[in-house]
């Protein structure tokens, strides 16, 4: 059965801060707006509605509820059907959204890097585990090593501690020298962030924090038993229950890539008005620059204002947005990954978890195509989301070309969605005659 197409002025993919700010702003000007979000509800990585939801996020979520935008939760953007439509799928249904303007606000995910033992149960993404804890995943009494890189390690550790975990160590791979430089840059670019970090520091006062320290391997069989780390050239072994490990964030670029938006240095290219290289398509938030929540909100608002033609209102925000981006760049420099953490995997370490491909098996290959042809690396259900990000860092392989559908999609969805678009196109032709 071909379904009807939902006609929208603005379709936004991703209901994190960037998408929510864009939806609220666009609706203010009477634009018919749909906000598509994979998770059951809006919020993205930081504004999930949890019992401990912060006032700021509650304010934005209330605005979203009041603004009249159509929020499609539990809905995944699967692929475009033609140049002006997007196919989306829910647990048991699907829709076709026709758009005049499309805002991509798909955010970022944590970078996980393969190391010996990393597939043992008990190894989590650091920020991911913090989110799980907020949603009720039990961490109380668990002994946790928080390791990796980036400013999210501290809030993650703090959250875990608040939910009763015992933090054995926080290990940041970046060297202390670079972090001091970063702190100085923050005084100018983002003094509030510095204050926040300091507050985190106070609240984590009795937790061990090591800079220039990184995890090297994980031991355990049915579950994690021990984590080995490297610090000042020495190995430290820590018995623990959980390794919460993240090496920073990588933008979710799959949809942008499929839509043909130009991508450079790992982010979607946008101009100061958040326009991508494809007419009618805008991008906002973490996929344009890993720079945190304020940048996400600003860029989302700017994109929506530009669509509404409200340049007057957008212009004053440009300065703050570009400052936020510079903060992002400083962040990336400070927490740049050292070569050692890119070379943790040994021959037996699994790189592609879907297809069980090890680092040793990938050794003969020099690019994605060969690895995929011969070892099926990245051909499992996650379609290279995890190993793709890892390999682009470890081996500097460019990402493989994106093809529809982006994610495993019901066959019925692909058939009916496409037919709906074809039917509409035929009817439009009929009208013209």
């Amino acid at each position: 059965m071909a379904k009807t197409i939902l006609d929208m002025d603005v379709v936004i993919v991703g209901a994190g801060p960037a998408g929510i700010a864009a939806a609220v702003t666009a609706s203010r000007f009477g634009l018919k707006t749909a906000l598509v979000e994979d998770s059951p509800g809006p919020g993205g990585q930081v504004w999930q509605e949890t019992p401990s939801g912060r006032p700021w996020s509650r304010r934005w979520l209330n605005r979203l509820r009041a603004c009249g935008a159509q929020v499609l939760g539990g809905t995944t953007a699967v692929c475009p059907v033609d140049q002006r439509t997007l196919l989306v799928e829910t647990l048991d249904d699907h829709h076709v959204l026709a758009w005049r303007h499309l805002i991509l606000a798909t955010g970022a995910r944590e970078l996980l890097l393969p190391m010996p033992g990393w597939t043992v149960p008990g190894v989590f993404g650091a920020a991911g585990l913090a989110r799980l804890a907020k949603n009720g995943w039990p961490v109380a009494g668990k002994k946790v090593v928080v390791a990796g890189s980036g400013p999210l390690l501290l809030p993650a550790a703090l959250t875990l501690k608040r939910y009763g975990a015992r933090i054995a160590l926080i290990a940041e791979q970046a060297p202390i020298g670079r972090l001091i430089g970063f702190a100085l840059a923050c005084m100018y670019l983002a003094p509030a962030k510095l204050l926040q970090a300091w507050l985190y520091g106070l609240r984590l006062a009795n937790v061990r924090y090591k800079m220039g320290c990184w995890p090297a391997s994980v031991e355990g069989d049915v579950c994690l038993k021990k984590v080995s780390l490297v610090h000042k050239g020495l190995k430290i072994a820590i018995d623990c229950d959980i390794l919460a490990c993240g090496f920073g964030l990588v933008p979710n670029l799959e949809l942008a890539r499929l839509l043909g938006c130009s991508i450079q240095q790992g982010v979607v290219c946008v101009d100061q008005w958040q326009r991508t290289s494809v007419p009618g398509i805008y991008a906002a938030g973490e996929q344009t620059c890993i720079a945190g929540m304020e940048h996400a909100i600003l860029s989302g608002r700017i994109a929506a204002l530009v669509i509404a033609g409200q340049y007057q209102e957008a212009r004053p925000m440009l300065g703050a947005c570009s400052r936020a981006r510079r903060f992002g760049h400083a962040l990336a420099r400070a927490f740049a990954l050292r070569p050692e953490v890119l070379g943790l995997a040994d021959q037996e370490t699994i790189i592609c978890r879907c297809e069980d491909v090890t680092a040793g098996q990938l050794q003969p290959y020099t690019d994605w195509r060969k690895a995929r042809l011969m070892k099926r690396c990245g051909m499992g259900p996650c379609q290279g989301r995890i190993c793709g990000a890892a390999l682009s860092h470890i081996k500097a392989w460019p990402y493989p070309t994106a093809r529809p559908p982006l994610l495993p999609t019901r066959i019925a969805t692909l058939i009916e969605g496409t037919m709906a678009v074809q039917k509409a196109a035929n009817e439009a032709k009929g009208d013209q005659i």
Partner: protein
């Protein structure tokens, strides 16, 4: 240094690697030249069905010989090649199609190809997920499936163990009637015989070759738990194969060893790129769902498209170019290159050695399509 060899093969698809496989066994000095990954052309995007096709006598002869050769080497194939003799079931819905299956059977019998007619109930037992009420089927038990790029790698590795050499990452810019091959960067290789096995791109090296691209889409499901035991194809697939204009689709599904189902297939002319086209993909999936309703709720994890190298009479070009004994062709295998690769190579090896061939090479000689001489 001047690089010389007895045989230079352009292209390391399934056809080029199969040629290397047999020719290196003869003790000839073989060089294979490939610009990309081994098996990364049409071979890397195809379905890997080893199937006897009765489109015409020459088709039947070449496909059944090809299948027989695969069967012969199957015991030595490494696990990664995933050779699986699952057999084909051809499906018929109308009485007329049943009749068609009967004559197909008679025809196959003459060539000693085992078959078995399935009535409605037998079909139900064989493939429980098919829609009810399919009139009947023809089971061809010796057909098989393989994982094509791994097969190409295996054939090449065997050739290398017999002394063949691979020049990878080298684009051939031109081939000369004197047996010279100019590579990008102007290096020249001299060969006693050049075999153009460049698939869809063979005509870039020789403008007179009448090869066009026929695009095909495929989609693979997740590990679904849906039952599929054989490669299952609707009998009107043959019409789709013969069709010369527009896009057509036919029901063609294949069980993978992983429990996934590979869904085909479409045919299109005049589509240069390998991007996935939603209308074609949807049309193809729709056809599959009509035959196997259970598919509607399975998930596609990946879809892609590739090109078949096709000739005006749908038969490959195998043998020397008319007027030039030093440039040979092994291309134009269209949708059957996997099946017929070993047979092609076997013919070529025998023709080069001046031995009689197992089957008549006449119908495949390039002279039928090329008037001009090479000199």
């Amino acid at each position: 240094m001047k690089l010389t060899c007895d045989i230079a093969i352009v292209g390391a698809g399934i056809v080029g690697t199969a040629c290397a496989y047999y020719l290196a066994q003869e003790g000839l000095k073989v060089i294979v030249i490939e610009r990309g990954p081994v098996g990364g052309g049409s071979t890397g995007s195809c379905m890997g069905h080893i199937v006897v096709l009765h489109d015409s006598v020459p088709h039947l002869a070449l496909t059944s010989f090809g299948r027989q050769l695969w069967q012969q080497i199957s015991l030595g194939l490494p696990e990664g090649v995933e050779y699986n003799q699952c057999g084909t079931i051809w499906l018929a819905t109308t009485q007329q199609q049943i009749q068609q299956l009967r004559s197909q059977q008679t025809y196959y019998n003459q060539y000693g190809i085992a078959t078995q007619l399935l009535d409605q109930d037998a079909l139900c037992d064989a493939e429980p997920c098919l829609r009810k009420g399919v009139a009947g089927g023809l089971y061809v038990p010796d057909d098989a499936v393989i994982y094509p790029p791994a097969a190409a790698c295996y054939l090449l590795a065997m050739a290398q163990s017999n002394g063949a050499m691979l020049l990878q990452g080298c684009q051939v810019m031109a081939i000369g009637p004197d047996g010279s091959i100019r590579l990008q960067g102007n290096q020249i290789i001299y060969a006693g015989i050049i075999i153009n096995a460049a698939g869809c791109w063979a005509s870039q090296l020789d403008r007179q070759l009448p090869i066009i691209k026929r695009k095909g889409h495929l989609a693979v499901t997740d590990r679904s738990g849906a039952v599929l035991r054989h490669q299952v194809v609707e009998v009107s697939y043959l019409q789709s194969v013969r069709q010369d204009a527009g896009a057509s689709v036919a029901f063609n599904v294949q069980p993978r060893k992983t429990g996934q189902i590979l869904i085909g297939s479409s045919r299109q002319i005049g589509a240069e790129g390998t991007e996935v086209e939603m209308p074609v993909l949807a049309h193809m999936l729709q056809r599959a769902v009509e035959w196997m309703p259970i598919l509607a709720n399975l998930k596609v994890i990946r879809a892609w498209a590739g090109h078949r190298p096709s000739t005006p009479d749908h038969l490959p070009m195998i043998g020397p170019c008319p007027g030039n004994e030093r440039v040979w062709l092994a291309t134009g295998h269209e949708g059957l290159g996997l099946t017929t690769s070993l047979a092609t190579a076997h013919l070529i090896a025998n023709m080069i050695a001046g031995r009689p061939c197992q089957i008549d090479p006449g119908p495949y000689l390039p002279g039928r399509l090329l008037q001009g001489t090479y000199a």
